[in-house]
Amino acid sequence: MSLVLKNISLPLAHFTLEADLEMRQRVTAVYGPSGAGKTSLLDLIAGLRAPRSAFIQLDGDVLTDTAENFSVATHRRGIGYVPQDLALFPHLAVRQNLLYGRKSGETASPLFNFEHVIKVLEIEPLIARGVTELSGGEKQRVALARALLSSPRLLLLDEPLASLDAPLKEKIIPYLARIREEFQIPMLCVTHDRFVALTLADEIVVLMGGKVMQTGAVAEVFTRPANAEVAKFTGVETFQPGKIISVADGLATVNVGNVTLTALAPATESRNVFVCIRGEEVILQRAAASASSVRNRLSGCILSFRPEGALVRVELDAGFPLFALVTRPACAELELREGATVTALIKAPAIHLVPR
């Protein structure tokens, strides 16, 4: 797909949503905190809001062009939209909800055949029910199916998992992945959930305060946040101000707290940086480190533990607050406890310097 958004300007209550974007991947996540303007962006693409200025083009077809005073009506855009509250029609049974937007005859894509969609999303047993009799996860699937049955060219998903609790989330994710594979339909998925972005998206657009902060491949954005705000939001565990003392052979020596670290030099003149280290990149070791390729060896005192599923988040005082994510067995084997001294190993490329 190709979705072009140019010169977007939409005044909202506290800021103006502005964007210049080109999305080419199959699944793009619009990722950002609540109130960043994500839903408004989807509304704009669906034609539900009138922007101050905008040029929106989907697969070569212009949908909105304020310069030409041109706008395709929402019901002619062929864009499926599953809003956060799902908006199932309460006065219609599941079947009528599903059939509401169904195209018949020539306009229908064989891909979005009723039986096929029903099968992929496992809706068969729900069809005869009323909408109010459905559970949260069932409603979610019905809303997805209803949007798909309208044979859309693009599917907009607004926080597809926000209304579900954790076990249900894990059940819905495979359905979304299935839609992605079975129907080959481009999706634009708004989320503030890192897990959703990581599992579903090929490409991420980070939206904060109405501005696009960064666009790129998922791994790229999560490991190399463009600036401090993005880093904070994408959840890099260690995030400390530092100062580059010297740069040589592409390596920078950085002062953080009362220690120095070696990292890859950023492409910037700025000496003041934020030092970003992901918890899973930090190796903990009990004995003092012997010779290895690892550039940074820090001795630290364990301040706290916090279990996170199969992992434990360990906070160290290594001259600055440093977070490490280790497995529970590793934690037990190393006999890690509060107050114990350990050595933290961090490879130079795992330290990401963001100019500030």
């Binding site: 539900l48 929402t74 019901h75 908006a87 509401y100 937007g101 195209k103 949007a147």
Partner: protein, 218 residues
């Protein structure tokens, strides 16, 4: 009850029902425009629609009579309105419109606009969204409003007597009939019509309450 009294009751029910159906399209259009739109002059229109509810009905009747002219359709119509059953229909319509608009407007305001928007993304145009989403979801409030308007029309007196006169067998409704019978001392006939009017009003108001109340808990 005599045949003449039955005729009055049937005529009243029939013309009141017809007036409710007559105002339905314009009433819904106005209610929807007031509920959703934000246009210049909205508060003026709002006030004008509500006027018949608070003005003396006789004054409203006088306005209608002046607009239509005493002897014809104000020059716009070939057929005579004043002092015919059509004048009764017109008076009842004008007097009951505010009640329909007010109820329907509240009902429309309670419909989540997000549902209408999503219906549009599913390929439904404006009319289809209105008739398949908005009206069904506002249905109870609309029916409640129609019954209230019908009840109001059943009892209308002042505006009717101004534009339609009080012609037995032609424009006489229950309220006009009661008035006439009491004036000429036929109290028995007046009480017959009174009983009919109480029964009809009770049924109309009770069922409108049913629809308007259930809307809230649903």
């Amino acid at each position: 009850m005599s045949a003449a009294e039955w005729q009055i009751v049937w005529f009243t029910v029939w013309v009141a029902a017809l007036s409710t159906l007559t105002i339905l399209p314009i009433g819904l259009a106005l209610a929807f425009a007031l509920a959703r739109g934000n246009w210049p002059g909205k508060s003026i229109v709002e006030t004008f629609i509500t006027l018949p509810l608070v003005m003396p009905p006789v004054a409203t009747g006088l306005i209608l009579l002046t607009v239509l002219g005493k002897h014809g359709g104000g020059g716009w119509f070939d057929f005579r309105i004043v002092f015919t059953w059509r004048a009764v229909l017109l008076a009842l319509s004008v007097m009951s419109l505010p009640l329909l608009v007010r109820s329907a407007r509240t009902a429309f305001e309670e419909v989540n606009p997000r549902l209408e928007q999503i219906a549009r993304t599913l390929g439904a145009g404006g009319w289809r969204v209105f008739f398949t989403i908005t009206v069904p979801l506002a249905g109870r409030g609309i029916i409640g409003g129609m019954l209230l308007a019908f009840a109001r029309a059943l009892g209308e007196f002042g505006a009717t007597i101004m534009v339609a006169g009080n012609i037995p067998g032609k424009t006489q409704t229950i309220s006009l009939g009661i008035f006439e019978n009491v004036t000429i001392g036929q109290n028995a006939q007046a009480y017959h019509l009174l009983a009919a009017s109480v029964v009809l009003a009770f049924i109309a108001v009770w069922s409108s309450e049913f629809f308007l109340r259930r809307k809230k808990t649903a």
